[in-house]
């Protein structure tokens, strides 16, 4: 909501929807969480968040943007766990984003959730809209795979390609040589609709289905004409939790009022709340 350089005011929420027979049968969105974070308390907030989630800190994180991501991801993984617990064997739980957490979220948080999905016979799938996977040092992997698929299969085909090794194989960073512990999840690149504009990174912890069957199901979920090639339930949940422009504007107005009530001079409030991007975009 506000980047005051030395402090941020952030708002986030996570949600879950249940989709069956082409209809969304239930929607849940957590109440909006609004927090003020300062540079000085970033580290302690990170530690507290992990502690609240019941996992130990593996790395140090003092950067505000990283803390914000961690807070949001924690909320999302909490939702994912609850969904797996509630789902029936054979169900698919879709997650917006990767099943491999960012560097500051400990594997100890995520791995048990993967295991829970396997134990319950549930397919846990994460779809990443903007993948950071690279081929070599710089080439975007998803784009590269897509080019090759188009060359081999033509422009109007559905396809998927596993880009990780077999399950249980330790992951080795080719540049650093660092060996990561084996994961239950596989990483794919897939195009889920023959006329879809995009290909996505798809992570899967397959608790029930073989890849062909799983991707057939995902393709079936990606047939909504407004979001061709992207699983509709993820589009729906995005709409449920996203903060609309109107809501953000209301929040910023309330924030401005709070600053003034606290005695901040109006010039300073203007300075803090000014966003040069708005000037550039005008």
């Amino acid at each position: 909501m506000l980047n005051g350089r030395s402090f941020w005011v952030i708002a986030y929420r996570a949600g879950t929807i249940w989709h069956r027979d082409r209809r969304t049968v239930e929607e849940q969105a957590a109440p909006l969480t609004i927090e003020a974070l300062t540079q000085t308390d970033a580290r302690s907030r990170y530690s507290r968040a992990l502690a609240d989630a019941g996992v130990a800190r593996e790395r140090e994180l003092a950067e505000l943007g990283g803390v914000v991501d961690v807070l949001r991801e924690l909320a999302e993984w909490r939702r994912a766990r609850e969904a797996i617990e509630r789902a029936a064997p054979g169900d698919v739980v879709l997650v917006d984003g990767s099943l491999h957490p960012g560097p500051f979220l400990p594997a100890a948080l995520v791995v048990p959730i993967h295991q829970l999905a396997l134990d319950r016979g549930i397919d846990l799938v994460g779809v990443t809209k903007a993948s950071k996977l690279r081929w070599g040092r710089y080439a975007p992997l998803v784009l590269r795979v897509r080019r090759r698929a188009e060359e081999e299969l033509g422009p109007n085909a559905r396809w998927f390609l596993r880009v990780t090794g077999d399950i249980g194989t330790p992951l080795v960073d080719p540049f650093t040589g660092e060996v990561a512990p084996p994961w239950h999840s596989e990483v794919y690149v897939a195009r889920l609709a023959s006329r879809g504009v995009y290909a996505f990174r798809v992570d899967a912890v397959r608790g029930r289905r073989e890849p062909t069957e799983l991707f057939a199901l995902l393709a079936g979920l990606s047939d909504d004409p407004a979001f061709l090639g992207y699983p509709y339930p993820l589009a729906r949940v995005h709409q449920v939790v996203s903060l609309s422009g109107h809501l953000l504007a209301d929040l910023r107005r309330d924030l401005r009022g709070a600053f003034l009530r606290e005695g901040l001079p109006e010039d300073d409030v203007d300075l803090v709340m000014r966003d040069f991007h708005l000037t550039l975009n005008a």
């Binding site: 989709h19 082409r22 209809r23 969304t24 109007n156 609709a193 023959s194 006329r195 047939d223 909504d224 004409p225 407004a226 061709l228 509709y232 729906r236 709409q239 609309s244 422009g245």
Partner: protein, 523 residues
């Protein structure tokens, strides 16, 4: 439980909007009710437009989704939207017709209904106030979109002299409406009379089975009188009109005369003999001789034109030189007795039909005017009478024609003499606007031409400005009824004459004479 339709979300007294579910099938003209729980009011709405809405704020969203569907169609992978009811909805624009207060009184719309008020289909109670305003001349049932509501729609017979306009494109149900209207007057037991000209021969027999006509009406024997220049045995009386009854004005109504021709006509009527003799002489004598004699100051070519037209009149089988054979008096007597008089003009040319209509209408109007001036008691006993003419734009084009044309005169003066004009036309745009404004009741059926709709919007006694699309999309038999007594333009489904006829009660048979009733009387 009223049928739930949606919620109001704006926006002004004249332009109320509500959101409805995507699956809600809303129709133009549909009547709905908006509940204002804050004030205990029930607002009556009419749907004037329906559009799609979506939860996407992106203007190009719907276009892109359509593109997505087409892409999938092309790929042979037909698909559809998920969660349609959540993502799409309808926005209905409705005109507020007014509101009913807690006491059941109707008020014109001067205030906004409560924001987010519930919109539903009207209940019987919501429309009860209308029942009292419907007259005794019922033409159909209240219509809501494509549904019919069990509430009669009609006009009060007392308002017939304030004139009635029936406007419709071919095939929209004019003839059926006219049969229903005439049928209602037939069944009115003499309270009203009607002089109905039938240029297509469809009112009497209905145009052949399975259609029914006025002849099949249970009251026909008692109250229907039919006159025809070529009657079938037992069905109609032979229509005979006397040359002596024809006036210069009748001729000027039937034909267009130039200024010099009009003057020559006036001279002929004044100089060539009265009681129709002038027409006979114009027809039989040589124009040159007439010029040599009485009509010397007029050009020969002008006299020749008059001569040709006089010949056409005199040769008409329905015209007679013998005034005693004329049935005009009989027609007037029938009308005075509260009967429906059908004049079959189907075998006549348009000009001849106009001559007949002009003569009979003028005679009627003159008779009523005379009673009005000379015998007010007799006048008040006469039934209100409606003269119905098809293709009425022929005689109502110019207000100035009222100087000689009886129909504009009827439109302007008829009300005073309890004679109304029922103008039936496909082209109201050709009718003089001021003459049109004399018509208090409109039956508007489907009209394709925007110019026709426009002139009706301007001259109607109710606001039709939002109803252009509805008038354009009216199906055969669907109508809008406006008159000063209706609270708003009433959507109606006109009775199908053949169906309606089945429910018309027959007149009670005369009570048999009791035995011995004549005892003591000389028989």
């Amino acid at each position: 439980m009223p049928e739930y339709k949606g919620r109001i979300f704006g926006r002004s007294v004249q332009d109320v909007r509500f959101r409805a579910f995507y699956g809600e099938d809303l129709f133009l003209g549909e009547l709905l009710v908006g509940a204002d729980l804050e004030r205990g009011r029930r607002y009556l709405f009419r749907v004037t437009d329906v559009a799609y809405g979506s939860e996407s704020s992106d203007e190009g969203w719907a276009e892109r989704v359509a593109g997505g569907l087409m892409e999938m169609d092309r790929a042979g992978e037909r698909t559809g939207m998920r969660d349609v009811e959540r993502r799409l909805y309808k926005v209905a624009k409705v005109a507020s017709l007014g509101y009913v207060d807690t006491a059941g009184r109707f008020h014109k719309p001067k205030s906004l209904p409560a924001q987010f008020g519930e919109v539903s289909a009207p209940t019987e109670d919501d429309l009860e106030f209308l029942r009292a305003r419907m007259g005794d001349v019922e033409i159909g049932r209240l219509r809501s979109g494509e549904d019919t509501i069990e509430l009669p729609v009609g006009i009060r017979g007392e308002t017939l002299p304030s004139h009635v306009g029936v406007f419709a494109t071919t095939g929209m149900g004019k003839s059926n409406l006219m049969k229903v209207l005439a049928g209602q007057l037939l069944a009115a037991a003499g309270r009203y009379a009607m002089l109905l000209f039938d240029p297509h021969g469809e009112y009497l027999e209905g145009g052949g089975p399975p259609r029914r006509g006025l002849a099949h009406h249970p009251w026909a024997e008692q109250r229907l009188r039919v006159y025809s220049p070529s009657p079938r045995a037992g069905q109609a009386s032979l229509l005979r009109l006397s040359l002596a009854e024809l006036s210069v004005d009748d001729l000027r109504t039937a034909w267009k005369f130039t200024g010099p021709q009009s003057e020559a006509l006036e001279s002929a009527a004044a100089l060539l003999g009265d009681k129709g003799m002038w027409l006979k002489r114009l027809a039989e004598e040589e124009p040159e001789e007439l010029k040599e004699a009485e009509l010397g100051r007029h050009a020969l070519a002008t006299i020749q034109v008059l001569s040709r037209r006089a010949k056409a009149i005199v040769r008409l089988p329905l015209m007679t030189e013998d005034p005693s054979q004329s049935l005009t008096g009989k027609v007037l007597d029938d009308l005075a007795a509260g009967k429906v008089v059908l004049v079959d003009t189907s075998g006549l040319e348009a000009v001849e039909e106009m001559l007949v209509a002009s003569l009979l209408t003028r005679s009627l109007l003159d008779e009523r005017a005379n009673y009005y001036r000379a015998d007010r008691d007799r006048f008040t006993q006469l039934p209100r009478t409606l003269v119905a003419l098809e293709e009425a734009q022929r005689v109502l084009t110019r207000l100035e024609d009222a100087e000689f044309n009886v129909f504009p005169r009827l439109a302007r003066e008829g009300r005073k003499f309890n004679v109304g004009f029922c103008a039936v036309t496909q082209q109201p745009k050709l009718i003089d606007a001021e003459l049109l404004s004399q018509f208090n009741t409109y039956f508007v059926l489907g009209l394709a031409d925007e110019r026709d709709r426009h002139i009706l919007k301007q001259s109607s006694k109710q606001d039709l400005s939002d109803l252009g699309a509805e008038i354009q999309t009216l199906m055969p038999g669907e109508a809008l009824v406006t008159n000063p007594e209706a609270p708003f333009a009433l959507p109606a489904k006109v009775h199908l004459y053949e169906e309606w006829l089945k429910g018309v009660p027959a007149p009670e048979p005369p009570t048999p004479r009791p035995a011995g009733a004549l005892d003591g009387f000389y028989d």
